[in-house]
Subunit: 288 residues, 2 copies
């Protein structure tokens, strides 16, 4: 993994680092020989995972307790990392509220806008400039196939994922001729405690048409074989420097992405709404 | 226009009301018999346009001077309108910065996130709930075909327009069975002082293939026959209640939208980047 660490080291910064996909991004960067600054809110878990990554891969880790809704996040991160050369930036933090738009508390929705839109803008500005000055670096944005269409129950979240998708595409084309590789991973179903609770509520009779040419059928079937967080992280790192601005952890996510974008918009929305309605009940939750 | 005013009256609120498309939205709501609350930053122009709308159409207008980057915008608007039944909400305000992502001042980019993402969330929450309680109302979001792909020079702006596009689609499907009509207009080239200055810099030899099947050629040709602001406003109002979540002011914008979304993403980005590069020079500007 020397090439990876020479191109994207010596330090990575992973925002939203202690659980699920973020934990996997931290581990995989370390496995590829890069030290890791790890940002998350909950101090105890963060320190535990930072120790785990350090001990397992023999790199340095630096846990930074930070609230990614904080408008002062730029100063917080700068103060905690100004002695480091950060060659890899992974923005994985998110807030997803479940519920109809008008039923979700406004404060939670604004926190989602802060984490999904404002904070990545701040950190990308701060961390991207030194990469361009060194003519090397890597940036990974973690978006979602849910950002490609309206649906129900995830209005502000899906809009934030659309923001990251299109922002990531601009950064991919603006920065690639300056030596900085950008990819945006359009995450599909991924195993996590939240996802596994959701999966348990599925109407499985709706999920048996994995080879269908109908996007909704394919998307429903995909719920039964989610990617692991490790697969998501590896797919994104492997896509750095590729000729596509977006990447996927499974070919079926790529197929669903393209097929859904080719639909008339009422049908695209019906597809993603139908996917939500595959669950017979959905637990109310705020996942951060 | 009785049907329109009965369904979407007695008051409209237009955010970003005094120039270009917003001025046209104010006029057209008034022409259809709806009184108009008009929000904008610059007091003098706002009062002038509010008087113009009132005098021309014989409705009431209420200018409200407001900074749409203000985190307290909800309180400001509530205090100014709590005696009114607002049946129509048009979110047209925007901030577009021109320049490579790393060359644009962070404060301007965060102001763009506030205006394009946070403030619509706040106002939609506030104004949408009473519409659902009355089982009638209309919501218009003003997005852009630029929100459908990354490009160059408009990174944070295009991401914000993607946010509005996907948010509008969710609201369209969530609220339509509750009596509230939502549409998102994917704006294409529209005549305005800024656009006209841009148009003057075009390499016109690149813009002569209006009937091409190549999205970039069609999009370049479209620059030579922009819609008027009045056409944009009328198209959006006429689309309220339609079976598509998005609408367009010209059939070619619809064609370009669909053709671009059907492309592999590297080609979609090349299309929208190429469109930017049709100009031989582009004035640096911040349009609010």
């Amino acid at each position: 993994m020397t090439d990876f660490s020479e191109r994207y080291g010596p330090w990575a910064l992973v925002a939203g680092a202690s659980m699920g996909i973020g934990r996997a991004f931290s581990h995989d960067a370390a496995r590829r020989g890069v030290n890791v600054v790890m940002l998350a809110r909950g101090e105890e878990l963060l320190r535990q995972i930072a120790d785990e990554v350090r001990d397992e891969h023999g790199v340095e880790t630096r846990p930074v307790v930070a609230d990614l809704t904080d408008p002062e996040i730029g100063s917080v991160v700068a103060a905690a990392t100004d002695d480091l050369d950060i060659g890899l930036f992974v923005y994985n933090a998110t807030i997803a509220m479940h519920g109809r738009f008008l039923d979700v508390a406004l404060d939670d929705q604004l926190a989602s806008v802060a984490v999904n839109c404002a904070t990545p803008i701040t950190l990308l500005n701060m961390l991207g400039r030194p990469m361009v000055e060194r003519s090397r670096g890597g940036i990974v944005l973690v978006s979602s196939n849910g950002g490609t269409a309206g649906a129900i129950n995830f209005g502000t979240y899906n809009a934030g994922k659309a923001f990251q998708w299109i922002l990531g595409e601009t950064l991919w084309t603006e920065l690639r001729d300056q030596g900085v590789d950008v990819t945006t991973i359009m995450v599909g179903p991924t195993s996590s405690p939240n996802f596994n609770a959701f999966q348990a509520t599925l109407d499985r009779d709706l999920c048996d048409r994995r080879d269908s040419d109908v996007p909704l059928d394919r998307a429903r079937a995909r719920l039964l074989y989610p990617s692991t967080p490790e697969e998501v992280a590896a797919a994104a790192y492997d896509a750095l420097g590729s000729d596509s601005p977006v990447c996927f952890s499974h070919p079926d996510d790529d197929w669903i992405f393209r097929a859904s974008l080719a639909l008339p918009r009422d049908e695209a929305v019906a597809t993603w709404r139908g996917l939500q309605e595959t669950a017979t009940r959905t637990p109310d939750r705020i996942a951060r």
